[in-house]
């Protein structure tokens, strides 16, 4: 082996702990990148794979009703690749066998004499529907799992008061319900209370009084022309009351999946960058010390005829090796992390086809990122080394340029550390920067944890005001709520009116829901900017901050609210100015005075004049189950959710994020330890001679420990102060980018996170100085002051 390389390896071994620590930091960055990128790409590929294999639809058009024969005509239209007509119907579904008594089902018809050409299913368990017209059903997997259905079990859909018994033939996954939501207005998966159910069209048509008819058309179109073709098909179906076509991008499940994916994106970039940036900084600091200590040797090498580029590559080599070891370790860790992320995701969502492809390109990129970061960190010192003049070898160690030192009237134990920090301000700043990067990471992780906890706590607190939320299918009049309020155990019942709308502003749009608010509401309150309950002023709406951001709207903006299922006979469009944004964690609702919601939407959509779409109930705890069961037995009650169930739902959607954040926090702490250890140790190496000299002057170890601790703790403090603003900024950017359709957090940092980050760092600094101090204690004093390193 080349002797210069040998020197490099031996030097690295001599500083092994520092470099191991740095490699570890780089490895964590690589692992984060590789892990999250791998799961991101795998998810994306899995969705695409499922969509391709199962011929996911491009366009959905709901109709009032039409003869099945319209399909033949549409199939011949230019640009239409395939078309299916089906009946799609929300129904109440009764359950037995200890399951929740009533849930909402979406019945979707399937042909039994041929395979469906669009939105095919993947059979996971059991068998397909038989060809005879049996009362059989295929259940969507996440619903089946949440309600413990196996093939052969019975399930009891109801329609117009009629209850029918169906047998579960099989369990399937569907490209339309990977994210199991009822409609675009819902943003949380609710497999416990909602399920897609695929049934034979020959059975359901007659049962719903729609034999030979359909109420939904699904299309596959020539790519890129979806919108135009959808409009043409809608035009053709004009006689049958078509609603606005839904394109694939707006399809509820797909939209939430994509939004989830995009929400993860900032993590893919920012977190790894933080780690790799810290690794680069640490490499730079360690190598700068090397170069300082090896000036004489570098001078000698140059004097012996080693060209400058060999000195450059020598020190870059150190960065390369650290980067490579970090890269290899990180890629292995990242692969495991990716697999773990994938399985965590799979527990929440049932993707019909998943891929576990290895993606060597991601591994390679991750590896190169580590190498690149460490090379970048090494570049500064390496260039400095290459510039050292050969004549340097003639000189002894150059003492740092004595700057004009400030004069303090303070004890020496304070003056020395302060002067040390001021003597080389750039160096101090670099070291403090290293500490700061660790603090930043811990603060970000802490902020995420606090915000998540705070947001969940707040949303639960909002929900907690009522014990049960009820949805009526279809809308009822307010009398019905008054009737419920007379039930024994019901302390208070308030009507709710939730109407799906598409909100438009400045070219942006979002499918959401208008909620009517009664002026005397106590159970469903909205919090304004100050955290206090607010009501929408007449003629205005209150909009959640996340929605305002999405629509690029602010206080005073004029929003256009359109009922998405507008037809020629039933349509509602309203314009409303927006009030100050309000806090809302789950979903992105729009709040409107109840009376206006009824006037602008309910009456125009042919609902009762005092329409309610549901109610929220405050009940006596002893009566909770009794009231819930009574609701289940009441006709026209679709969804009934208790507070505990809501809590479970939120826990489920946030479980993944919470685990992710805990891991981030741990990694952040690990990185903080590694970085702080490295920089503290460097400082001590540089001070070794000075400290030894102080010892010869009669300073005891206890003096030195105080001296060093004070200097390091001051450094940690500077680092901590530097860290706060960037940490909160980065956290805010990440949080805004990370809020999904379903869940938007608000930024909170509890004091405990500041305390933990600062105290944690100080503790690490304090611990990290011991190896160096032990070195000072063991030093042979005579040797130490005579010899240079």
């Amino acid at each position: 082996m080349n002797r210069l390389t040998l020197k490099l390896l031996r030097d690295l071994i001599a500083s092994r702990w520092q470099f191991l620590a740095i490699s570890l930091v780089a490895a964590l960055g690589v692992a984060m990148y590789q892990g999250s990128m791998l799961s991101y790409e795998r998810q994306k590929t899995s969705y695409q794979l499922s969509y391709d294999r199962l011929a996911f639809g491009d366009v959905w058009i709901a109709l009032r009703r039409a003869p099945r024969s319209v399909v033949t005509g549409i199939a011949r239209m230019p640009g239409v690749l395939a078309v299916e007509g089906r009946i799609a119907q929300f129904v109440e579904v009764e359950q037995k066998g200890g399951r929740r008594p009533r849930v909402v089902g979406r019945l979707l018809t399937l042909p039994t004499n041929r395979e469906v050409t669009i939105n095919r299913l993947r059979l996971l368990e059991g068998r397909w529907l038989g060809t005879q017209s049996r009362r059989e059903v295929l259940l969507e997997a996440s619903f089946a799992r949440a309600n413990r259905y196996r093939p052969g079990d019975r399930i009891y859909p109801k329609y117009l008061g009629k209850q029918v018994t169906f047998t579960v033939a099989g369990i399937v996954s569907s490209p339309e319900f990977i994210y199991p939501v009822m409609s675009a207005q819902f943003s949380l998966p609710m497999p416990e209370v909602f399920g897609a159910m695929f049934v034979p069209e020959e059975v359901i048509g007659p049962m719903l009084g729609m034999a030979g008819q359909i109420n939904e058309v699904v299309l596959r179109t020539v790519p890129g022309r979806e919108r135009e073709i959808a409009a043409a098909v809608k035009q053709r179906l004009n006689a049958y009351g078509p609603e606005e076509p839904v394109l694939r991008a707006e399809q509820p499940s797909n939209k939430l999946l994509q939004s989830d994916l995009e929400g993860n994106k900032p993590f893919l970039v920012i977190m790894p960058m933080l780690f790799l940036g810290s690794a680069a900084l640490a490499v730079g600091l360690v190598l700068a010390r090397w170069v300082q200590a090896q000036r004489g040797i570098i001078g000698f090498l140059r004097a012996s005829g080693f060209p400058a580029w060999r000195i450059l590559t020598h020190y870059l080599g150190a960065g390369l090796l650290v980067g490579m070891s970090g890269g290899v370790l990180g890629v292995v860790l990242g692969y495991l992390m990716g697999a773990w992320f994938g399985s965590a995701y799979e527990r929440v969502l049932k993707t019909p086809y998943t891929t576990a492809e290895g993606r060597p390109d991601i591994a390679l990129t991750a590896f190169l990122l580590s190498v690149g970061a460490c090379l970048l960190g090494a570049y500064g010192p390496a260039r400095q080394a290459a510039r050292i003049l050969p004549a340097e070898a003639m000189r002894g160690q150059v003492p740092a340029q004595p700057r004009r030192l400030l004069h303090f009237r303070m004890p020496l134990l304070v003056t020395i550390p302060v002067r040390n920090l001021l003597r080389r301000p750039l160096r101090t700043l670099g070291t403090a920067g290293g500490v700061a990067s660790a603090v930043i990471l811990m603060l970000i992780a802490g902020t995420f944890r606090d915000s998540m906890e705070g947001s969940i706590a707040q949303s639960l607190d909002d929900f907690r005001r009522y014990d049960i939320t009820v949805t009526f299918v279809p809308e009822r009049s307010e009398r019905f709520v008054r009737y419920i309020s007379t039930w024994p155990g019901v302390l208070r019942a308030e009507p709710t009116l939730d109407i799906p709308v598409r909100a438009y502003h400045a070219g942006f749009q979002k499918e959401t829901v208008v909620m009517g608010m009664t002026p005397d509401t106590r159970l469903r309150q909205v919090r304004g900017p100050a955290g206090l309950p607010v009501l929408p002023r007449p003629g205005t709406v209150l909009v959640s901050r996340a929605l305002a951001r999405r629509l690029r709207a602010e206080e005073g903006s004029l929003l256009r609210l359109v009922y998405p299922q507008n037809t020629r006979e039933r349509r509602a469009v309203a314009y409303r100015h927006m009030g100050a944004p309000v806090q809302s964690i789950v979903g992105m609702p729009i709040y409107m005075p109840m009376e206006e919601a009824r006037r602008l939407f309910a009456s125009r959509l042919q609902m009762p004049p005092d329409a309610v779409s549901g109610a929220v109930l405050d009940v006596h705890p002893h009566y909770l189950t009794q009231i819930r069961d009574r609701l289940y037995r009441t006709d026209g009650v679709g969804l009934t959710l208790t507070y505990a169930e809501l809590q479970r739902q939120i826990d489920e959607v946030t479980a993944f994020a919470q685990t992710f954040i805990s891991i981030m926090f741990l990694l952040g702490a690990a990185m903080a330890f590694a970085v702080v250890y490295t920089v503290t140790d460097i400082v001590l190496w540089e001070r070794t001679r000075e400290l030894a000299t102080l010892r010869t002057l009669g300073f005891g170890m206890d003096h030195l420990i105080r001296l060093v601790s004070l200097e390091n703790l001051l450094m940690a403090l500077i680092g901590g102060v530097i860290a706060v603003v960037p940490a909160l900024q980065i956290a805010r950017i990440m949080m805004e980018a990370a809020s999904t359709e379903g869940f938007s957090m608000q930024l909170v940092t509890y004091p405990r996170s500041y305390m933990m980050a600062l105290l944690g760092t100080m503790a690490v600094v304090f611990l990290a100085q011991w190896p160096g101090l032990r070195r000072v204690r063991r030093l042979d004093l005579a040797e130490a002051i005579r010899l240079r390193e």
């Binding site: 002797r3 020197k7 040797i297 000698f300 004097a303 060209p307």
Partner: protein
């Protein structure tokens, strides 16, 4: 017995030729004239000692001869190469092929053994000597596998000597090689330098502020305030062990 440099023409082939050499650090009021009007002819195969008080310009002169530094004015030709015409890469090649350095601070690589320190330089040379043989020549055969930290100062300086010799340089440049050593170790190092260079037919330019060392030189160059005060040939060089300080 003394003479000026130009009168000292010998029949030996010429190694170094310095002509109107000047070195100035800084400009204007703060300018330091480290060297002024240096003219020297130095033949091959000699042990030349440059002596003078601290700050007299010895190191500056040695650096220029070694291609570590450039003169402000004048010409330097060593082993047939005009250093004033060489670019940075040319100077690097010159240092690699023509000269070997020894410093007051030994500048050994602490993480390489004695042998590996010598090999480090051998790998750079076009036609190096066997590192082990050179180490044997400086009396360190037994210490070859030791790391610098376990060697005495004199041993470290002998490793440095071996490291300079291994690439067969025409000229060894030593700046205060005994400066960090005690008397006995210093003498031992000088002995080895003398013997080995004589055996191998190498030239040595040694810089020192210790005038006792001039007594072992073939030729002595006295510097004072950046000028040559005196150049003379020593007709009876002493053996190093006869020196006292």
């Amino acid at each position: 017995m003394s003479a000026t440099g130009t009168e000292l023409q010998t029949t030996k082939p010429q190694l170094a030729h310095l002509e109107h050499l000047e070195k100035q650090y800084g400009e204007g009021e703060i300018a330091v004239h480290a060297l002024q009007d240096i003219n020297l002819e130095l033949p091959q195969g000699e042990f030349v000692v440059f002596v003078g008080p601290s700050g007299s310009g010895k190191t500056t002169l040695l650096n220029i001869i070694g291609g570590l530094d450039r003169p402000t004015r004048g010409r330097v030709v060593v082993a047939g190469r005009d250093l004033t015409n060489l670019d940075e890469a040319g100077l690097t090649r010159y240092r690699r092929d023509v000269v070997g350095f020894i410093f007051q601070f030994f500048n050994l690589v602490p993480t390489l053994t004695a042998r590996e320190n010598v090999e480090l330089v051998a790998e750079l040379a076009r036609d190096p000597l066997d590192p082990m043989q050179v180490l044997a020549a400086v009396g360190l055969k037994d210490r070859a596998e030791h790391f610098p930290a376990t060697l005495s100062g004199g041993e470290q300086q002998r490793v440095a000597l071996a490291r300079a010799l291994v690439k067969r340089p025409a000229l060894i440049l030593a700046d205060e090689p005994t400066g960090s050593l005690d008397y006995e170790t210093g003498i031992r190092v000088l002995q080895v330098m003398r013997e080995v260079t004589r055996d191998m037919g190498r030239s040595i330019f040694l810089v020192t502020h210790n005038s006792e060392i001039t007594r072992m030189a073939d030729r002595v160059v006295h510097l004072r305030s950046g000028r040559i005060a005196e150049v003379y040939v020593n007709p009876h060089p002493l053996a190093p062990e006869e020196l006292r300080w």
